[in-house]
Amino acid sequence: MGLRKPRFDTAEANAGQGLFADQPAFTSFRSITLRGAVDIDGFRQAARRLMAEQIRPECVGWHSGDDTARDLFASANQDSAEALGEAGASGGRGESDAGQTPVLTVPAEFLQLCQTVILHSDAGRFGLLYRLLWRLRHEPALRHDPLDADRVQARHMAQAVQRDVHKMKAFVRFRTVQDEAFKTRPAGGPMHVAWFEPEHHIVQAIAPFFAKRFTQMRWAVLTPECSVEWNGATLRFGPGAAKADAPPADAGEHLWLTYYRSTFNPARLKLKAMQKEMPRRYWKNLPEAELISGLAAGACERSAAMIDQPPTLPRRRIPAPRLKAVPSDAARSAG
């Protein structure tokens, strides 16, 4: 099989473009450069072409151009249905393809897996997925073997991405903004801005979650790789930001800190259990994390005090409402 000129799918402005490196020594070696870190459409098209040409996985080099991530935000393409193709999908898409590319049937599960794994930060993700695709085609038993090494690896990568998504849903903290730069547009209430550092390329995938949750709120999430803003109607993606671009604590945040301090039970200090679910690397962006060391240090003392304290004599009367006489912090921490 000779080196063939790549066909660009002109109908698809955002599609990945296979760029074959000039490597005469390995005539069948292909180098694919995708447009951006999470170019799932480009990956699917390239993979479909490579399969049609029967290029073995070890003869393909994948380049995601993670550094071109910013270009990506021109296209918030979440199209998920076709390319690698459930049967028939290729027919409707880019007629030029339909003639040559045989219908490639893969389990629906595999498509989902691709969509998740592709968000992973590991540069080897495309190679792994293409290898799995190749093997699914040539080793019929593979789809019944969840313990196959490649499948296990892909599953672990998918899980890492899902965990990152889950933690981002949990640990993003919005602050209302006083700064003029953020006091935007006429409509709507205050702007809510958060700074977060995800491990994988998940911002695009997660943005709809926040849009559906905070539909009537104007908000923005800034991350090093990109940022996303919701104006109440549409999501807008933009370039990455720095932590300094995010606002400092606002006036109301101390209530949340008060709650965190008070809901902690010093009689059952379990820092390891906490860190298992809220690893240290998230702490720098969680306002409440600054309290942890102090609370932990004071815990033994506080719970020892509870035990040493002699029991008080029971009273059988409801104390008169003393709403004004709120205890000072000192009184509380002694209790």
Binding site: N265, R268, Q309
Partner: protein, 465 residues
């Protein structure tokens, strides 16, 4: 004192007073979001834990009391009338605003509201319901709401609570009615169970009505353009749960599990929470001042899991005499060691029920084993890829290239698999956490519904000890 300051002081008191309730689940309710609404909020199948306190517990909901004034004198409770803790009371709108504010910050999934009993059960319940109503109707809040139900509140109030809340719960407090009588003389164990029965009927009815509405064919008549069926009224789509305190009286583990089993089956609870009695400020003289080991609570959660997901009956989990679960090893391993005649289990042929009894194999691992073995014989290397604890699993299983031989019957097996933990001092708390992680188990606090369901969907299978 500024308004902000005053609110913070109340919050400190009323969050402190509410923290002895273990439940923090925000999972299992209907899915919804705020698209097309006037407010904020969404729920998914699995809950989200937005933070973790240094006690290892997840913070998913704003968990507070409306007030910690209380008429009752339940000895185990920090808010009993005879306790000298500082008291406070929120206004309804203060709770509503706090909930919305924390939610906007993405600090919580919603509200878990409980209260001391003031004036009368109905009066108190009415206030709780009003908070939920205001959140839902005045602010179109679509996040999670868990209301603690006051036993003896009127059926009408329960119905209104179910309309707005995702989950309702009534604490049985102590595993036995007699225990409750001794420590909480004003509480009526029978009435608590009666209210739980009422909630179950409400939940079942709403479910059935929703099912009917889905199934029934809509026949449009000539000239009618849109045929719309009224949505059946909702009632606590997240179900009900309860909590019992462990270690405040002498009830043994067998009795506790028996009580749980009957609660699960009689009232179809989503969860029973176990809360190790912990020292409280201003404790009553009639209570043990020392707490039970936190590990006991952990073992009870593990046993609870065995009943609900692993096909164990409540009466086969606690071994022989004594009535207590072993602290040194988890109940599944203890059962396997006590029933060695059932092993080794052949992973290439045994039925699912038997695979679930193998120490170290979790539900997902079992599912993968069943899938994989259709195509080929499983070998020891496959267990490695399953990420299960080999040391624990191998003595109990047969594989194409593995036979445990005499190791299964070796007398030292128990001590090899579960080395006696160093005697934990009273404050040597990290010990409990450490031993739970070495078992490959979720930490006890990780077992709250939200965390557990979150894990089910995202994390690799947690191998069951």
């Amino acid at each position: 004192m500024s308004i902000h300051h005053q609110l913070a002081s109340k919050l400190a008191i009323l969050a402190d007073a509410a923290k002895y309730d273990a439940s923090c689940a925000s999972s299992g309710t209907s899915q919804r979001d705020s698209v097309g609404g006037k407010g904020i909020g969404s729920t998914e199948g699995s809950g989200i834990c937005h933070s973790y306190a240094p006690d290892g517990r997840c913070i998913s909901l704003l968990k507070i009391l409306l007030t910690n004034f209380c008429r009752y004198d339940c000895l185990y409770c920090v808010n009993r009338v005879s306790s000298n803790v500082p008291r406070a009371r929120f206004r309804v709108d203060e709770v509503v605003q706090l909930t919305l504010d924390f939610y906007r910050r993405n600090c919580i999934e919603g509200l878990f509201l409980s209260s001391g009993i003031i004036q009368s059960p109905d009066y108190t319940m009415e206030l709780l319901v009003e908070v939920a109503r205001s959140l839902r109707e005045d602010h179109d809040f679509r996040g999670y709401i868990h209301l603690k139900t006051i036993p003896d509140a009127s059926p009408d109030l329960l119905a209104r609570a179910g309309l707005h809340a995702d989950r309702l719960s009534i604490n049985v407090e102590l595993p036995t009615v007699e225990g409750l009588q001794a420590l909480a003389p004003e509480k009526d164990g029978v009435a608590i169970r009666r209210s739980m029965a009422q909630l179950r009927i409400g939940i079942d009815d709403a479910k059935a009505a929703a099912g009917d509405a889905r199934r029934s064919q809509i026949v449009s008549l000539p000239r009618s353009l849109v045929v719309r069926r009224a949505t059946p009224p909702r009632f606590a789509p997240g179900g009900q749960s309860t909590q019992m305190i462990v270690g405040a009286d002498a009830t043994d583990d067998r009795t506790i599990l028996q009580a749980s089993a009957s609660l699960y089956s009689a009232y179809r609870l989503r969860r029973v929470y176990y809360s190790a009695f912990s020292p409280i400020p201003d404790a009553s003289a009639r209570l043990p001042l020392r707490r039970p080991p936190l590990l006991r609570e952990h073992r009870l959660y593990q046993a609870d899991w065995l009943m609900r997901f692993y096909g164990f009956a409540h009466d086969e989990i606690v071994p022989g005499a004594g009535g207590m679960l072993a602290l040194a090893m988890d109940p599944k391993l203890a059962w396997a060691l006590g029933h060695r005649e059932q092993f080794p289990v052949d992973l290439n042929s045994a039925a699912r029920e038997l695979l679930l009894r193998v120490p170290g194999l979790g539900i997902k691992a079992v599912t993968r084993i069943l899938q994989s073995r259709r195509g080929r014989k499983l070998r020891a290397a496959d267990l490695l890829r399953l990420h299960v604890p080999l040391k624990r699993v191998l003595p109990f299983v047969l594989l194409a290239d593995h036979h445990p031989g005499a190791s299964l019957d070796a007398p030292g097996l128990a001590s090899r698999l579960a080395p006696a933990p160093a005697q934990a001092g009273l404050f040597d708390v990290s010990d409990a956490a450490a031993s739970s992680s070495s078992l490959g188990l979720p930490a006890p606090t990780g077992l709250t519904g939200a965390a557990a369901s979150a894990r089910r969907s995202t994390a690799p299978e947690l191998s069951w000890a």
